[in-house]
Amino acid sequence: MGQKYPVAKNETIRYWLTMSIKILIPLHENDVAPRFDLATEVLIVTDVGKTGSGEKRMVVLPRASADQLCHLIITEGIQTVICSGIEDDYYQYLTWKRIEVIDSVIGSSQSALERFIEGRLKPGDIL
């Protein structure tokens, strides 16, 4: 196990260097929205691997809806979702669609993003 961990970490770093990651964070003001299904605003960050902090884009949703948000995630080609409270149905759906979901993250979206780029963000983190 002791030998495997650095290998996995190197692989992750290599992955970020070669791939452009697209992240979505549901927002409530500047924080990660407490509820995935009640978020009316999302932050989409593209090219995380290439440009470090990535390119940020805010999307205002017409209304809060977990279904519509899932649809947006799929159509936008999001690879990672950083959120707080998410119902199991949507979590399972997104992971089934091979989207990484880091949930129960509490804190500002900026801190969450930074910690994600550093490779230290885990589900349940209180930032």
């Binding site: 409530h28 924080d31 407490p34 509820r35 995935f36 299904d37 009640l38 707080s84 409270g85 998410i86 119902e87 199991d88 979590y91 949930d103 129960s104 509490i106 804190g107 349940g124 209180i126």
Partner: protein, 492 residues
Amino acid sequence: MEKISSHPPPATIADPIRVLSGLNTSAPPRINNLFDDPIDFFGLLDEITIGVVVLDLDRRIVVMNQTLKAFTGFNQKKLVGAACAQILRSDVCLQKCPALIVHEASGPKCIEGNLVNRDRQLIPIRITSAPLKNLDGKMVGFLETVEDISLLRKLDGTISHAYKFNNIIGRSPEMEKIFQILPSLAQTDSSVLITGETGTGKDMVAEAIHQSSNRAKGPFVKINCGALPETLLESELFGHRKGAFTGAVENKPGRFRLAHNGTLYLTEIGDLPISLQVKLLTFLDDKEVFPLGSVKGVAADVRIIAATHRNLEQRVNDNRFRKDLLFRLNVIRLHLPPLRDRQGDIQLLLDHFLNTLSTQLGKKKAALSPNALKCLLTYNYSGNVRELRNIVEYAINICGDRQIKTKHLPSYLLEAGQVYVTAMAQEPPNRLDVNVEDGLTRPESDQRWPDIEKQMIMEALVKVGGRKNKAAISLGWARSTLWRKMKQYGIG
């Protein structure tokens, strides 16, 4: 911090500023002056079996008890200072935070909503928020309790779907109204007048009221006012003394006295003769009955429930029913809606009767074909629930453990109108339709079924040139069935 023994001040949390400011103190806050020794405030909160959280004025967590930690799934020490909405993750926090509407002068506010816990479960909750004030009455924070109401919600669902009161079944808004009234109505001792068409369940409602009342242990005596001649009815209702009339060889108590401490149900009250209406009126006033031939009244503690399918107001106008009796009976009036006005109840009752009657008749539970169901759902039940029950009983007996099709329904139902034609036209290919499609004549509705069947066999045989195999196929029967039926009808 020290206890003052002479005039104990109100219980206080030691060092409230440090606690309410969200600082992580090394010494846990204590409550002084409540007991001889101070008690641990956190320990007290943790003993409470509903979620409790103390918030500061910025709605950040100061203290959260173990119950709420377990409920939300967040157990970290870092919770202190975190925004309440981020931890509770409730729709209430995001849309109508109770702490925002609570102020110094207001009392607690209670709002229902839901939260998503760490296990990603959506749980219905009730949040109650109350202001926390310092000794000067200034608001320093909020105390919120969070209750899991998922069980209550489940019960709510059951209650809202309750479609039964005793043996009365119904889900329509009309019946729901009656189900809501009945329990409270049963608890009173007032007279009840039940009106409604025949077969709407007046007798069942009367019995249900009795069974749910305080008189349930007493007798439920029923008498049909239209079933007996006037003289007999008087004797039946009020009793008689020995020798009161020829043939009165012994004392008879009468139904009123038999119903003592119970309920007397007078069905078809509209048919009660005028002379007896007066006697009934006397009883309703004095609660005493005078048996025939007796000069002495006998007290009877009886609740009267009367029912009729007649329009009593009309009968009052026709001078066939006493107005004063109507007013005395009409304390609580319950009108039972006809089945045709009870939307959605026909299907419910069909299922109920299919289940119960199949068991009672020792048959397998038969299912209804789509067309038979359509036929039954569109029929205008003039006989109401009783008629529906009889139709189902007939169909279960006729279908013989098979699916109930339109042909298994009573013929009068099929003759009732357009429904039959439409239903038959849409019936999936079956024995009868094969013939219709083949151009054979449709059986006339006034014929008996054996005649129709015989005619069908004959026509099928003629059409296929007497070949029984093909005739059986065109009829949708096995060859042996055709042979048996041919033998039965003496064909060939």
